[in-house]
Symmetry: C2
Subunit: 270 residues, 2 copies
Amino acid sequence: MTEELLIFVNGERASSVHAMDRGLQYGDGVFRTMKVRNAAVRWWADQYQKLSEDCAALGISPPEERLLLSEVNQIVGFSGVGVVKVIVTRGAGQRGYAISTKLMPTRIVMGLPPTGRENLEVRVRWCDLRLSHQPKLAGVKHLNRLENVLARSEWDDADIAEGLIQDEEGNVICGTITNLIIVEQGKFITPDLSYCGVAGVARERIIKTAQRLGQPVFVEKISRERLMAADEVLLCNSLVDVWRVAELEEKHWPDSGWAEKLRNWLNENN
Amino acid sequence: MTEELLIFVNGERASSVHAMDRGLQYGDGVFRTMKVRNAAVRWWADQYQKLSEDCAALGISPPEERLLLSEVNQIVGFSGVGVVKVIVTRGAGQRGYAISTKLMPTRIVMGLPPTGRENLEVRVRWCDLRLSHQPKLAGVKHLNRLENVLARSEWDDADIAEGLIQDEEGNVICGTITNLIIVEQGKFITPDLSYCGVAGVARERIIKTAQRLGQPVFVEKISRERLMAADEVLLCNSLVDVWRVAELEEKHWPDSGWAEKLRNWLNENN
């Protein structure tokens, strides 16, 4: 199926990138995955802002917004595209970690099928892998994703939608593809992402909407025990919106309605 | 210059890799850089063994040795090739971290110019970036190399050959492209790499030769203070052989002859 994908590389229809691209050589780049709805990518302004911030974190010049959006919109125009993925790398250069001033970033825009994972309730598990602390990369959606790959490789039961990951100190940080929000007596709590994890756009939108509605999301440490005792455990990202954790090993949570409420928040403001 | 490189991708002369390759998408792969000498890559057996071990660490099937070596030898046959780089990725697949059983690894063999960095004495500096602890990836030469990229981006003074990097606890681990060995009253010490860093082939060869000669290399923690007080600070990798640190900020070390000795050890046994 990879042959039939819709891909633009630096504005040209292409299926490949140069083997010397630093995205391949070192994972030296960032990415975004965006959901297509009503013939457009959802939350474009937020997505572009986060892409630019992540580029800045690595010292990569972000693509010009109008140019990137025109390519994204061309991709969205093809039938069957449900997800658009954008990758920006530092570009193709000579061997070696040093960053040449001659490097021109590589801009890849891909049209992909819909995820079809829009169920509201999920079963999840704990991952053994612990996220390492790297404050210089934490929060950034960069291309060094081996921790996520290893964590996701811990199970292959299709009934389990997601794995929860702790950091090296045992704090629960996220799922392999989602951010975490727990609810305790009506109070929202999300983990601090200044040492590891990715600060996703869906999480950010929920934080902003909650703030506006006078029900702030608190950034606090969440231990495994605290999570197990929460009234509700929610997972979010740009593709699945909000998942309610219904089952985690022996534990079952009844639906207290927060997942649907947060979904509505996410979708009211796009 | 990237256009003129000699590259084989899965045995075919090519300059590019599929945009859906997990090497690009997630840094999901491993690599080796090997020095060409006397019309062959040096230390092939060690290089292939390490490549296979690193593939195994990620659950990737390594390329068959005879096949890979025949491609490497074809590349070495072209004029001007001083370095061969081999990348093995998990292959090109659908979006998502989950590993499909249908994935076929991608094998990339590249011919590159000589490094021309075979000086014996170098000036180095300290890097601010600290390596994070990830025992599931430590020692492996995988494609998630943003920490090295960020560390290397801390200086652009061409007179400084290398930067020394500490881990999150302050132990000195390596340089951005080299392994570290210090000498204290004739005793060799190299850092433990079970939490971070890459266990390189040159370091491994020095450890084995030293053992054979009855002068073992001890694996111990090396603090910044311990390094500064060492009689000799040595850096090694497959391309530069052994560098003697002559200068580190205000500190100067006289040549006590160990670097040349270790170079000879490395080159006696290939």
